[in-house]
């Protein structure tokens, strides 16, 4: 008996031990700033916990971009070619961990740049670290803006590059044009800020918002919200959806059951549903509803097709690419271009060189603006039954980013410009 017990204990410790080392084995290479022909960058996303599902796709894309650059000869600085190495750290879906790992990457590994983050909460946790150490973070997600740090470079869309054109489309040109709006979101900073902007915009367009409701994170009981929507929109209308992750599944499954469908005149415009999410929720629940993004997998240009094909070749044929991945892909290439333009890896020189850098991205041409955001093309798509977007509209060219929103009362009339020392983070236009 005692022997089997000991054996069992031994086995357990072996299993546990190996699983622990497997988790800790995330570091692909050790920091190596003295090496002659290598430069190590940091990648910081959640590889475990609730956000791992989404953020791991960014890690995959960033690795792919780095491999592509290396295969094409690496980064050329001062006439010398450097191979890019990376250190992947796990933010573990825990915001203080993001700050802690940032410190580690900056102080211990001495990386010149960190690509990382997804949620606004993780960015807000990392921001003070980068500002106090004067380091540089590249952040790839569409977000609520109202922020403009000298130490962050934002490659995702600002509200005027996603939600504002989408609201205008829904109010003026969608099948539910002129009908009232209902706003649904998860209860945290992005949906609340985004909806404040939408409410002001709908008011200025002359429409009405008949209700808004927020679902606490982790709660999937959507029945009361659906009852409210039915009461507030008896004859159809527009639903603006900023729900998060699996709450979308519960929401879309159940609104279909009670007849809140495009057929009955209800159209949902979602800001967090891309190709990846469509395949999880199931296109049969989403077909006919709308989405707004800078990049959609169905864009039929050589760059877009090449991006999708390389990703499938690298990570498997069943994988899809979506807007956040495209932003992550762009930021690696933009960093490379800025470093080559500056001729050094030094933060301050790269920051100056970055503004004005152009890149022929999968979505079309993009350019870094003085407010550390990107000019991007905006597209409105309708979800089809095969899980893709049918692109209905796209802006004629890239839309300039607004770090401070012009509909939100607190930031109206302000802008950000880091190239002019008298303007900076927030100045009056």
């Amino acid at each position: 008996m005692s022997l089997t017990k000991r054996l069992f204990l031994g086995l357990t410790s072996v299993v546990l031990g190996s699983s622990i080392t497997a988790c800790g084995g995330g570091n692909q290479s050790v920091g190596c700033t003295d090496c002659d022909d290598q430069i190590t960058v940091g990648i910081l996303h959640s590889l475990s916990g609730t956000m791992a599902i989404s953020e791991s796709t960014l890690v995959d894309t960033e690795k792919m971009a780095i491999e592509e650059i290396n295969a094409a000869g690496g980064v050329e600085v001062g006439g010398k070619r450097y191979e890019i190495k990376y250190i992947v750290e796990d933010g573990a879906s825990d915001w203080p961990t993001f700050a802690e790992k940032s410190k580690k990457l900056i102080d211990q590994d001495k990386v010149p740049v960190v690509f990382g983050g997804w949620t606004s909460a993780s960015r807000k946790a990392m921001l003070p670290v980068y500002e106090s150490k004067d380091a540089f973070l590249y952040y790839p997600i569409q977000y609520e803006a109202q922020e403009c740090s000298n130490n962050i470079f934002y490659t995702g869309a600002t509200p005027n590059q996603q939600s504002e054109p989408a609201t205008e489309f829904m109010f003026k040109r969608s099948p539910a044009a002129g009908k009232p709006f209902f706003l649904v979101g998860s209860d945290y900073v992005f949906p609340r800020t985004s909806n404040t902007i939408t409410k002001e915009q709908v008011k200025s367009l002359g429409g009405t918002v008949v209700g808004e409701d927020y679902l606490p994170l982790g709660n999937t009981e959507v029945a009361p919200i659906i009852a409210k929507i039915k009461k507030a929109l008896p004859n159809g209308g527009v639903i603006i959806n900023t729900l998060n992750g699996d709450q979308n599944v519960a929401f879309f499954k159940q609104i279909q059951d009670v007849g809140i469908t495009p057929k009955n005149g209800y159209y949902v415009m979602s800001y967090s549903i891309a190709e990846e999410e469509i395949s999880t929720i199931g296109p049969e629940f989403l077909a006919g509803h709308y989405g707004a993004w800078n990049y959609m997998m169905s864009i039929n240009t050589p760059q877009s097709r090449k991006f999708a094909r390389s990703f499938k070749n690298r990570w498997g044929n069943d994988r899809v690419v979506a807007d956040p991945q495209e932003s992550a892909y762009n930021m690696v290439y933009l960093w490379k271009a800025a470093v080559e333009k500056a001729g050094t890896f030094d933060d301050n020189a790269v920051r100056e060189a970055l503004v004005g850098v152009k890149f022929n991205a999968p979505q079309g041409p993009v350019q870094v603006m003085p407010n550390h955001h990107l000019s991007q093309t905006v597209r409105i798509g309708q979800i089809t039954s095969n899980g893709q977007f049918k692109i209905l509209e796209s802006t004629d060219g890239p839309v300039l980013p607004q770090a401070w929103n012009q509909f939100a009362p607190s930031s109206k009339g302000f802008a950000c410009d880091w190239t002019d020392s008298r303007k900076g983070e927030k100045y009056r236009l």
């Binding site: 475990s48 679902l215 606490p216 982790g218 709660n219 009361p224 009852a227 009670v258 999880t280």
Partner: protein
């Protein structure tokens, strides 16, 4: 009238999800006094069982019976969660009876292990493991006593376990080769699609009743009735209640308390699996699905009165109806010319987030006056 009916239906729908989730806990926590924080993860296993059953029914041979997969899934989920629950009881909880704090920590640890298990082990292999365990535990019970209790019993035991392992391995490799979706480990949430007859709604008296919700109400009803019947009418049910009331006296009277413990925990866990089926029909299935229900479950059991099924039923339906009344802002619709200050207060709480806050606050206040819940256990209890 229509309004009251709609509100009532919504409340019952929300309440029945709470009830089916809390029913297993009402038995495990209520009757055995075990604080099982892994209850949510047993639900998660039930939800994943539904997902795998659904995929198996998509295979060409079983495709004609696809519409019935939910019924099979209920049985599968009950078995899977029940077996895992029994293993949990035998390996961890049994050693900690009488130490509620240690049980709480240990079961929380188990819940983390189970979450990580479904993230990092391919579902096909998980299914194979469960089948091996199921067979290994069942074979000695099924085989006749004479066959086992001879001098070769060790070899027979070994043989039955190796057969079980073999079948488990075969299932795992068979599943992973025929259904590619579950052949690889993935932390991604998966989706259970209800068969076509369960989608959409039934229109009656100007109200749409979603069929999924109706099915969940029926599942809950059947579960509650069978549990009530089992505890009050069956021999083992009566033994369970006897052990609950006075463990040492029951032991003296020849009731095998150990078997009672296994049975109670197994049934409680199995019910968590059934709840997993219900939950998977409403939302998506992921490693964290259980975590979002566990607090609600404890809330319902504590409010209803520990050790009392009727209390659990009434508590979950009242929470459901309150959630709908407050969260959907129905009070204002029912009574439109409410005086100003009251109307603005009601309006303030008419969001899902605030409704949750208000309901928790009401429960806290209620428990100040009735600390033992709605229906406290009466009679002479012997505290363990």
């Amino acid at each position: 009238m229509q309004l009251i009916l709609e509100s009532l239906f919504n409340g019952v729908a929300i309440g029945s999800v709470l009830l089916i989730a809390a029913l297993g806990l009402a038995i495990v926590f209520g009757l055995m006094g075990v604080i099982n924080l892994a209850h949510g993860e047993l639900m998660m296993l039930g939800a994943y069982s539904t997902y795998i059953t659904q995929l198996i029914f998509k295979l060409p041979i079983l495709m004609p019976f696809y519409n019935a997969y939910v019924i099979v899934a209920i049985a599968v989920a009950f078995l899977v969660s029940g077996v895992v629950g029994i293993l949990l009881e035998r390996s961890v909880i049994r050693r900690l009876y009488g130490n509620p704090l240690e049980t709480l920590l240990a079961t929380w640890g188990v819940s983390l292990i189970l979450q990580q298990f479904v993230r990092s082990v391919p579902l096909a292999y998980g299914a194979g493991l469960i089948i091996a365990l199921l067979l290994g535990l069942l074979l000695p019970i099924v085989l006749s006593k004479e066959f086992i209790s001879n001098r070769y019993d060790r070899f027979i035991k070994l043989g039955s376990w190796s057969i079980a392992t073999l079948i488990g391995v075969l299932t795992a490799s068979g599943l992973s080769s025929s259904i590619s979706k579950i052949g690889r480990a993935s932390a991604r949430n998966v989706d259970v699609t209800a068969p076509s007859w369960m989608r959409g709604g039934i229109d009656l008296w100007g109200i749409t009743f979603p069929v999924t919700r109706l099915v969940i109400i029926v599942i809950t009803l059947i579960s509650v009735l069978s549990v009530t019947w089992f505890l009050n009418r069956s021999v083992w049910g009566i033994r369970i209640r006897a052990v609950t009331q006075n463990r040492s006296m029951s032991d003296c009277l020849g009731i095998s308390t150990e078997t009672v413990d296994i049975l109670t925990f197994g049934i409680g866990s199995g019910l968590a699996g059934v709840a997993g089926v219900a939950v998977s029909l409403l939302g998506s299935v992921g490693p964290n699905v259980g975590g979002s229900y566990i607090v609600g479950c404890f809330m319902v059991v504590v409010l209803g009165g520990v050790g009392n099924l009727i209390g659990t039923v009434i508590a979950s339906f009242s929470i459901g109806i309150l959630t709908d009344l407050i969260g959907a802002g129905r009070l204002l619709t029912i009574w439109p010319d409410m005086p100003g200050p009251l109307a603005s207060t009601v309006d303030f709480f008419a969001t899902t987030s605030m409704a949750r806050v208000l309901i928790f606050a009401l429960i806290v206040i209620f428990l100040q006056f009735r600390p033992a819940g709605l229906f406290p256990q009466k009679g002479r209890m012997v505290e363990a």
